[in-house]
């Protein structure tokens, strides 16, 4: 199991203003699976992703990434986990504007302590893998939205993470660019990468093993929807 959560809860405020952003969610993402969590904006899916990736601490419940329990980790261990074991992909890419495509990707490997030579080699390999070998020296501003997101995905893969967590990865993309990102996810899936995507874009269903609907911080009716395994493709 790449990623596991039990009774995961995040509350904000108190008494009258209490908001349960995530409400006792149980989740298991087996290694190599692509899991999509769908819901309207405000249903808590982004918060859930932050809890899973150690970006936020839960109010209650537990998270395991591989063998490591995430929710009780020290800040220091958490930072290392986010760097080495989790790859994040965001709606608005979050690339460094002043770094080229290849530099954006190798930065993650350099921070993890790889030698400059190895980091560059890995970054170039990943750029080739996302179909952008000829864009290595371009700044993000010279790339289309779809290309930027592919660079961001390559960056997420830089340290061979246990799991890639993506938050609305196609939210800022047109149809053609969305198609490219979905194809890339499909290739990652075929290569055995574990992927958790939160989105309101139903097109993710094309590449997901499972689609879970989320409503008001909880998985909407576990019996019906958590069991909805769209595994017809394999």
């Amino acid at each position: 199991m790449a990623l596991r959560a039990h009774g995961l809860t995040k509350r904000y405020g108190s008494h009258n203003t209490l908001v349960r952003a995530v409400d006792e969610v149980d989740l298991e993402a087996p290694t190599g699976q692509t899991l999509a969590i769908m819901g309207a904006s405000g249903c808590g899916k982004s918060t859930l992703l932050h809890l899973l990736g150690g970006l936020q601490r839960p109010t209650d419940g537990q998270v395991w990434l591989g063998e490591n329990r995430v929710d009780t980790m020290s800040e220091r261990a958490l930072a290392r986990l986010r760097r080495d074991d989790v790859g994040f992909v965001f709606q608005s890419f979050h690339l460094m504007d002043e770094l080229t495509a290849v530099e954006n990707i190798e930065l993650a490997a350099l921070l993890a302590g790889r030698s400059p030579g190895r980091a560059r080699k890995r970054a170039l390999y990943l750029l080739d893998r996302v179909g952008l070998a000829d864009r290595a020296m371009h700044l993000p501003s010279a790339l289309s939205g779809g290309q930027r997101q592919r660079v961001a995905i390559a960056r997420a893969l830089s340290n061979e993470p246990l799991v890639v967590l993506a938050d609305e990865p196609t939210g800022n993309l047109d149809t053609a660019a969305t198609l490219e990102v979905l194809r890339l996810f499909d290739e990652l899936h075929a290569a055995g990468q574990t992927l958790v995507v939160v989105t309101h874009d139903a097109r993710i269903a094309a590449v997901a093993d499972r689609v879970i609907a989320m409503r008001d911080g909880a998985f909407a009716d576990d019996n019906r929807l958590v069991g909805t395994v769209y595994d017809g493709r394999r």
Partner: protein, 169 residues
């Protein structure tokens, strides 16, 4: 497909399949001849069989009659737009709630699963790099419509879930 030039049935079938892309795979071989027979009966299509070949439907060359050509011209300028029948599903929810026959939200969930399955199939077909861009347009249209349906189902869910909440409190 016939407006281009007279053709054998199997040529027409090949043209249809090419135009429809992956969605054309569901078309069965006999369908085209059933349609041609119906058009012939209506006087829109005529056919003659090739000399020296056995007289079977797949050996006949089909062509538009003048009436058929007129019908094609009319069809091109029509602006009718088939609409999905939302009213029936809407009434299903109203009836389920009014008669306490079923939970409307669970009906919405079931419907969403079905629509999502269709989105998955169409989008999966569109991911195939070998799909011709023109046929891909049709898939894109199918997916866009289904996404609109999902959005509407989301709105249904919100309204019916909040009504259930009011009824309980």
């Amino acid at each position: 497909m016939l407006a281009k030039e007279p053709a054998y049935g199997y040529d027409l079938r090949a043209r249809m399949r090419e135009a429809l892309g992956p969605l054309g795979d569901a078309m069965n071989a006999g369908q085209i001849y059933v349609a041609l027979a119906r058009l012939a009966k209506a006087g829109l299509v005529t056919s003659e069989h090739d000399e020296g070949l056995p007289d079977r439907p797949d050996r006949r060359v089909y062509a538009l009659t003048p009436a058929g050509q007129q019908r094609v011209a009319g069809w091109l300028t029509e602006v009718s737009w088939p609409k999905p029948d939302l009213a029936e599903f809407h009434l299903k929810l109203v009836a389920a709630a009014a008669g306490r026959l079923a939970d409307p939200v669970s009906l919405v969930d079931a419907q969403r699963r079905e629509v999502l399955r269709r989105v998955r199939d169409a989008q999966r077909a569109a991911l195939d790099r070998s799909v011709d861009p023109v046929a891909g347009l049709l898939l894109e249209g199918v997916v866009l419509r289904l996404r609109a349906d999902l959005e509407w189902l989301e709105a249904c869910e919100r309204t019916w879930a909040s009504r259930a909440g009011h009824a309980e409190s």
